[in-house]
């Protein structure tokens, strides 16, 4: 049996063998960056790691070869694919749906709304006309932001219809066969709160899936009428020591000094 580790840029590769030394498992690394990696039973370098299904087929090949006891993946971009693999292989830990709830703001909003947790207005943008429609519903200014936090896509504020048109021209995909990964919301300027401690953020954390090794962040905003609403939730691996997250995802017991690996204070 092996522990499979997904690490796109190999940033923690020198540390995994030490962190997981007491697991008694062989460690197998899949990474997008070639290099010298010591302490692994096997290293697979996957070309076009971020875009390729070879990560998944590689893990499944390892599972067929000798069994996999855990999939460890810290990078936010790997959460859904790692969850899908755990589901498929019947492994413990965060599955695909749980990962989706923390990665996709529309999914998160749906989970929280179903649980009766107050959330800010935010809707998906699938086409140009959606922006006009939400501008009609909410007025300007609007904020358009990445739905899944893709790197390099900063939020955009649409101050008026001219701003909307400029956004469409510059930022919406021209290819009609693709669906933009965007959301739109009215701009909110109220006081912000991060983490638990408010009834609404506590309720959000209670409603969201909770799995060891997957720290969750929550942010709330105070509306003009004084209500606190959840502004966003997500997976925040940088909020906890990587060692603790890796051990938790591998199914190892936390060390006495390890903080709770599921919540962000």
């Amino acid at each position: 049996m092996s522990i499979v580790i997904l690490d796109p840029d190999g940033r923690h590769a020198p540390d995994y063998p030490g962190w997981l030394a007491d697991s008694g498992r062989e460690l197998r690394l899949l990474t997008g960056r070639a290099g010298e990696y010591a302490g692994f039973a096997e290293v697979r370098v996957v070309p076009r790691y971020a875009l390729s299904a070879a990560v998944e087929t590689g893990v499944l090949a390892l599972a067929r070869g000798g069994g996999v006891s855990a999939v460890v993946a810290l990078d936010p971009a790997d959460q859904i694919r790692a969850g899908g693999l755990r589901d498929f292989l019947g492994l413990p830990g965060q599955g695909r749906d749980a990962a989706l709830a923390l990665a996709d703001s529309v999914e998160a909003r749906a989970v929280l709304a179903r649980a009766g947790v107050g959330v800010v207005r935010r809707e998906e943008v699938r086409r140009v006309a959606d922006l006009y429609w939400w501008a009609h519903q909410w007025g300007y200014p609007l904020v358009v932001r990445p739905r899944r936090g893709h790197a390099g896509q900063a939020p955009a504020e649409l101050a008026d219809e001219a701003g909307l048109r400029a956004f469409v021209r510059d930022r919406m995909p021209a290819d009609p066969s693709v669906v933009p990964s965007l959301t739109v919301e009215p701009r909110t300027d109220g006081e912000r709160h991060h983490g638990p401690g408010l009834p609404v953020t506590d309720a959000a954390l209670a409603a969201l899936p909770r799995h060891p090794g997957h720290p969750r962040a929550v942010e709330a905003v105070r509306e003009a009428d004084g209500r606190w609403l959840v502004l966003g939730v997500g997976y925040r691996p940088d909020a906890r020591p990587a060692r603790a997250l890796v051990r938790a995802q591998a199914g190892l017991a936390p060390e006495p000094t390890d903080p709770d690996s599921t919540e962000v204070a």
Partner: protein
């Protein structure tokens, strides 16, 4: 009292909105796709003849020019209705109507027909059989779908149309090839894919019209071929209406009624339902669109019932009168129909009969190539070499006539 028509793709000559709306007491404006007009070798109609204003926009689907122009025209001309008959215009038309406060279809009655997940959920909740499916977010979803549903495995966009983006994986080797070379789910865009179990059986379709919330006319047909085989199928693709005494016809009509009730469409619309008739004699919903069917289905309905479903749909939206018999009671076809489709196939066209033969039962004949043209394999499901429509008293006669027509055409077609 102005009407704004959005025309995405296909021939404008074949969709004469100005004729359909000739008795409308107001101006008609037209926005069309420059790219798609060029594809059908048509010019934008001059302003002031049939249409008060006309405009062709670049990047029709995504540039935002259409929305901007529609709002400008609405402000300038006092638009009271937006007409949009093509699948990928339905959402934007619904949203523009809402923005402008116009009557007609809204998003809540578009989505169940455009989003296959919503469609399946609603149909399934109403007790209708649908193909089992998974929403695909990652490669493991595709692999898990193959394990759960087996092969062939169907992959298709959640909201596409006309078999665009449809992929069928026939074997584990196909799956491996797809994951190695065709998989493109990760990246800056939203996954928009479902994996679906392949349903064995013949594909039937039911085409009709809803007026004032009631099914005014509908009739089933049965494809005699597999829709997804368009790229490799160079044989005759026949589509035949079912006979009035065929029990399957009546089961399909009842299935359609239940589907329409489950999905809850707008007050007035044309529809095109596709259902599998399985070897176990079950009916399984494939999908349903709230628009006229593609290819020659509009002509099939016209041949059967004597009315153009698209014209009737447009007129009903605007409250214009329809033939008196529409809506008074469910009607049966006055005659039956059959369609012959030949897909493009590799070769250079030396000669092909441009005109139909002198058979009185040929209702429509459309050749899509000219001598000297070099064809490749069909690139999409409506990449036709020939479509032809015949009428007849029943299915057997229609099929027999289609075979005669096919033999006549292939006898004169010369490729090199």
């Amino acid at each position: 009292m102005t009407v704004l028509v959005l025309h995405h793709r296909g021939s404008l000559a074949g969709a004469p909105y100005h004729e359909w709306l000739a008795d409308y007491d107001g101006d008609v404006l037209l926005i069309a796709s420059r790219e798609h007009l060029a594809l059908v070798a048509e010019e934008l109609p001059a302003e002031g003849v049939h249409y008060r204003r006309t405009a062709a926009v670049d990047g029709y689907e995504t540039s935002g020019e259409l929305e901007q122009l529609a709002l400008e025209l609405a402000a300038e001309h006092g638009v009271r209705h937006i007409v949009a008959c093509q699948e990928r215009d339905l959402e934007r038309a619904a949203e523009l109507r809402d923005v402008l406060g116009l009557p007609g279809q809204r998003m809540d009655t578009v989505l169940p027909f455009r989003d296959k997940v919503v469609m399946k959920r609603r149909a399934s909740a109403a007790g209708l059989a649908v193909a089992p499916y998974r929403e695909v977010e990652c490669a493991a979803d595709v692999i898990a779908s193959a394990e759960e549903f087996g092969f062939p495995l169907v992959l298709k966009p959640r909201d596409s149309a006309g078999s665009v983006g449809l992929r069928i994986l026939d074997s584990p080797e196909d799956l491996d090839g797809y994951l190695a070379d065709g998989f493109d789910l990760y990246g800056p865009y939203q996954p928009n894919l479902i994996a679906e179990a392949f349903v064995h059986g013949s594909m039937c379709h039911v085409d009709g019209l809803v007026v004032d919330g009631r099914v005014a006319l509908a009739w089933p047909s049965q494809y005699q071929y597999t829709l997804s085989s368009f790229a490799t199928d160079t044989g005759p693709r026949l589509d035949l209406t079912l006979d009035t005494d065929d029990p399957l016809a009546h089961r399909l009509l009842e299935f359609t009624d239940r589907t329409l009730q489950a999905l809850r469409g707008p007050e007035n619309f044309a529809f095109h339902l596709e259902a599998f008739h399985t070897p176990e004699d079950g009916l399984v919903l494939c999908e349903i669109a709230c628009r006229t069917g593609g290819a020659a289905i509009r002509d099939i309905v016209r041949t059967m019932f004597g009315v153009d479903p698209s014209e009737s749909w447009v007129r009903a939206q605007l409250g214009l009168p329809l033939p008196e018999w529409i809506g008074s009671e469910k009607v049966t076809p006055r005659q039956m129909s059959g369609q012959l489709v030949l897909m493009k196939r590799p070769g250079r066209v030396v000669s092909a009969p441009q005109e139909p033969p002198a058979f009185p039962w040929v209702e429509k004949y459309q050749l899509f190539v000219t001598p000297g043209q070099t064809m490749g394999a069909a690139a999409y499901s409506s990449d036709f070499l020939l479509t032809a429509l015949v009428s007849g008293r029943d299915r057997a006669q229609c099929e027999s006539r289609l075979r005669v027509l096919e033999e006549w055409f292939l006898g004169q077609l010369v490729l090199e």
